[in-house]
Symmetry: C2
């Protein structure tokens, strides 16, 4: 059998993964959810035909989403996690014993259930007592919150389908209000390489910049995402992600990582010139 | 018509590019050479079925190969370029007026001819009077040289077929001898992500480390190479690529770049933890 899962990076480029077996397929109220077993990447989670994570490289995305803000903010106690139904960002957060409370708002219960069943090493921390899992709409949830969180992580799908409203001005304004005055927001920021993704990058950056005085973009190599060049946003009223890095304190925690490290933290904010230019030209 | 050029990143993953038209196809004495017109990437050069460059992103590879060492060494006058038949590295070198002489040794005349004809914006500098183009074997050429170059750039294909001997211990030893005592060598270093590429990364690093006391690896996002995560080697007896960066001097040159910049120079040497571990474990 020669079975391939193919995702188009653009109309004229595509990436294909050999599949051994389809483990799960379900149409939820929100999206199509599929999980495949593959020889190269282990298990692969696909939502509406888009690769969300693979067992081989999910550590890159999740470490970069979580450890970058955690190594800057001196005292994270309360976290809001939006989306992130696979549990990978939650797993990384749960490695910090001084976090007291994690509100996680995922719209699709079936994503959580499927990941707990088929991706247990990713969905490893759903039993953590600090977790308050809310199945619901992150946009509505964050609207009700004021000055409550030290850290908000927007771990969304792409801005199509159920994730679309997580890229609006109103949503970012509400995140700003939901954070303490020294809070940090990180958000997945798409890729700068293919034109349609690059336009989203511009919009996200222009919109977050409207509210947060400090809005920096950082990057990672994630081979199973389109182009392999993935961006993340770091937004805060108070902290610069490099100048305010607390390297010694983070190292003293002894957290073992496979992608993130302190040198890389400093390096990942150094963007290619063409990405800098892309970010400087966005419409709101 | 639905015509796709497909390259396997591993036996179980592949990347495909939509093709409008095949512009050139020729079997030289050394390899199969193809050039395609594509809607996403412009023209694409393929050697023995492997994508060597695309018009869309060749700037990344060539800028990183050339500007990184040029921003460190204070006084590059003589350069040896090995491989590099497409002319992209040559084009970047020719932007430095104080370079006096560039010996370029490419084994396959047909690659140069095809690129001059079909990729004129890459093969833009073959008429530069400082160029001494030698069609021949880089391994033999460098064996005859002693203390002659400030910079050697090994811009080779992958270590299969005609490029294979550019990855041996003997070759690196000869490059060491061909450099002045404060010379720098940069070499393309493959990708850390897929297993078979990662083994090559280990070998290259272990072998260059045998000769050069300073051997650092840096990275770039090159979406059309397997995994998009590409490595380069920086080797020298004298210069550390970050500590000895001459930022002000390089900026004063006013060279406009689309990928490289001074912040990125510092950042690109900060490698992910798993790549650091890969590099530390190599056999010679």
């Amino acid at each position: 059998m020669d079975l391939w899962l193919t995702e188009f990076s653009s109309p004229d480029a595509k990436f294909s993964i050999r599949v051994e077996k389809q483990l799960y397929s379900h149409t939820s109220d929100f999206q199509q959810i599929d999980i495949f077993q593959t020889p190269e990447f282990g298990r692969v989670l696909v939502l509406d035909g888009i690769v969300m994570l693979t067992e081989k490289d999910e550590f890159i995305y999740h470490e970069m989403m979580v450890h970058v803000p955690m190594a800057v903010h001196p005292n994270v106690r309360t976290v809001l996690l939006i989306g992130a139904g696979d549990g990978g960002s939650l797993r990384e957060l749960c490695r910090y014993p001084d976090i007291e409370c994690i509100d996680m708002v995922e719209i699709d219960r079936e994503v959580v259930n499927a990941c707990r069943r088929f991706l247990p090493e990713v969905a490893a921390s759903f039993n953590d007592p600090r977790l308050n899992l809310v199945i619901g709409d992150g946009i509505s949830f964050v609207r009700t919150k004021q000055d409550e969180y030290d850290l908000i992580i927007v771990d969304s799908t792409d801005p199509f389908g159920p994730g679309e409203d997580l890229f609006t001005r109103e949503f970012y304004a509400n995140c700003y209000n939901a954070l303490h005055s020294d809070g940090i927001m990180t958000n997945q920021h798409e890729s700068p390489y293919y034109d349609s993704d690059a336009q989203i990058v511009r919009h996200i950056h222009a919109r977050t910049t409207l509210y947060f005085p400090i809005t920096k973009v950082y990057q990672a190599h994630i081979p199973t995402y389109p182009s392999g060049h993935w961006l993340f946003g770091f937004s805060s009223r108070k902290y610069d992600p490099v100048a305010d890095l607390r390297a010694e304190e983070w190292l003293a925690r002894g957290i073992e990582t496979d992608y993130y490290n302190i040198d890389l933290h400093r390096g990942c904010f150094a963007l290619p010139t063409y990405v800098q230019q892309l970010l400087s030209g966005g419409d709101v």
